[in-house]
């Protein structure tokens, strides 16, 4: 609850929240992978 309130996705509809969280996870995974390859 604190997470969705701080990031303001509290105002989004459930499916939009999923889109937002998937995008966040995707960016995280990509950056970890690229970081690993890069380093």
């Amino acid at each position: 609850f604190k997470y969705i309130v701080e990031t303001s996705i509290y105002m989004l509809e459930p499916w939009e929240r999923k889109v937002f969280n998937i995008a966040m996870v995707l960016i995280l995974v990509m950056s970890l992978y690229t970081g690993w390859v890069f380093l």
Binding site: E6, T7, Y10, M11, L12
Partner: protein, 486 residues
């Protein structure tokens, strides 16, 4: 007065929140415009597609994509008198704010949302009896302007009462607070004049100033140095292009700024207007009845002479449980308004029950009606409630704006997601209040606004502070870095 600045990190997270909501808004608009999603907002019928569009699509972007999602927090229907406690009619939205359904249940809550400073919004007592009697005598409404058949002796009595109460020579009343500003400023000034307006003035003052056609200069909120600088420029440089001197310069301020909870610096403004021969228009909408030892507004609070303020404006909405407004001042000013006021010539006049309610409330404040000392008791109660509530909130660690004696108490929320969460969580716990966000406030200054009332008991205040403590802990809203008061 306190205006603790928005913490830097919170400001940045707030912007990121708004940008993220804007991105999703554009994404939804794209889906709607390309038929992937049904457009539920009111649009023009297909047959008028070839005409010039009535609405600019972008202008309702905010309503469609941000406000709509959380609009259950606003315009909540109530089913009882807006006293210390009230009952709200529950609403459910199956489609995230596009439409509402009424399950038939209702919620009882403590009322910190209504303007009811002196607690005159009540179902019984001298005011209610007077309103009922006036209804039987005069009926519910008057379908004609004052200048025609809409003038009742009640109106005349109310004007005399208002003039005596505020300490002016004469007064004129109007059926609507907003119209009192918006429709009378054009009767006072016009082209070739200059209006110095506070940047946080109410929209009725902004609209009234724009309708006059006068040159408008906006000064920083409550900044006397800025007023003087702009006043000097207006006098030295005069009108644009022609450089002719302005015919009149009108300084327009509010007594209490309801969004900030701040109080105007009246003594300095009076000194300035005397020094530069300008006129002063004081909107006491929130301070009449709520400020000052006798409830006569900020003029009474600062102990100034009412005759030093050229135009004393106020409303009956916030402190007297009524509606409408008044303008008080010199005989000459009121006579001029009687002839020229758009509201007095075209608008239907104040309904008799409302006028009776307001007259009785004024008389209770002047000690001529109701139980002896009732008016003074309410004023004292409001003052105690205000300072007790503010001190309790400061102790919680939330950021509270405004003057310690202002009965409007803004508590800062900042992030857009928390605006709705605060409104919903407090109502869930039995506290009804108002939340305000952009564009009615600066983008990083969203807030909840609590309106104190003399009808609130200290027990009610304690309960509400406890609810606020719970919700602000849940929503991580205790941003204040100031040490809590001893």
């Amino acid at each position: 007065e306190q205006f603790e600045p928005t913490p830097y990190v919170v400001a940045i997270i707030t912007y990121i929140g708004y940008v993220m909501l804007a991105v999703f808004g554009h994404m939804r608009d794209f889906l709607r415009n390309h038929g992937f999603e049904k457009n539920l907002i009111a649009t023009e019928p297909a047959r008028t597609k070839d005409f010039v569009p009535l609405y600019q699509n972008f202008e309702s972007f905010y309503t469609r994509n941000l406000y709509r999602r959380i609009r259950d927090c606003w315009n909540r229907p109530i089913r009882t008198c807006p006293g210390a406690e009230f009952e709200l009619i529950d609403r459910k939205s199956p489609d995230h704010g596009w439409s509402f359904e009424y399950p038939g249940t209702h919620t009882r809550a403590i009322n910190f949302g209504s303007y009811n400073y002196l607690g005159f919004a009540e179902t019984d007592g001298p005011c209610a009896d007077a309103a009922a009697a006036a209804t039987e005598t005069f009926g519910c409404g008057v379908g004609s302007p004052r200048a025609e058949a809409g003038n009742l002796d009640l109106h005349t009595r109310l004007e005399a009462t208002v003039a005596e109460f505020v300490g002016a020579e004469d007064a004129i009343i109007f059926p609507m607070g907003f119209a009192t500003n918006a429709l009378n400023m054009p009767a006072l000034i016009g082209k070739g004049c200059c209006v110095l307006s506070d940047e946080l003035n109410h929209s009725s003052l902004v609209l009234g100033a724009r309708l006059t056609g006068a040159k408008i200069k906006v000064f920083r909120h409550n900044d006397i140095a800025d007023v003087e600088a702009k006043l000097r420029d207006a006098i030295v440089y005069g009108q644009d292009r022609t450089r002719r001197p302005f015919k009149k310069i009108l300084i327009v301020v509010e007594g209490v700024y309801s969004m900030e909870g701040s109080v105007t610096r009246l003594p300095e403004l009076i000194a300035l207007k005397k020094k530069y021969k300008a006129y002063l228009y004081l909107d006491e909408a929130h301070s009449i009845g709520a400020m000052g030892p006798h409830g006569r507004g900020v003029v009474d609070y600062f102990g100034c002479d009412p005759r030093d303020v050229d135009v004393l404006m106020g409303t009956f909405t916030k402190s007297f449980g009524g509606a409408g407004g008044y303008i008080a001042g010199s005989q000459h000013l009121v006579a001029l308004l009687r002839q020229r006021s758009h509201s007095g010539l075209y608008g239907a006049s104040l309904p008799a029950p409302v006028a009776a309610q307001v007259v009785t409330a004024f008389q209770m404040l002047m000690g001529r009606a109701g139980p002896p000392g009732e008016g003074a008791r309410r004023l004292k109660q409001l003052e105690v409630n205000t300072q007790y509530f503010r001190a309790s909130l400061h102790r919680l660690g939330v950021i509270v704006y405004g003057h310690r004696t202002s009965p409007v108490v803004p508590v800062m929320i900042f992030m857009p997601g928390k605006i709705a969460a605060f409104g919903r969580e407090t109502l869930k716990r039995g506290l009804g209040t108002v939340v305000v966000g952009y564009p009615a406030t600066p983008i990083i200054e969203s807030r909840a606004r609590f309106c104190l009332s003399a009808a609130h008991s200290l027990d009610i205040i304690d309960r509400s502070v406890q609810i606020i403590d719970e919700v602000t802990s849940l929503l991580l809203m205790k941003y204040s870095r100031r040490p809590p008061p001893a």
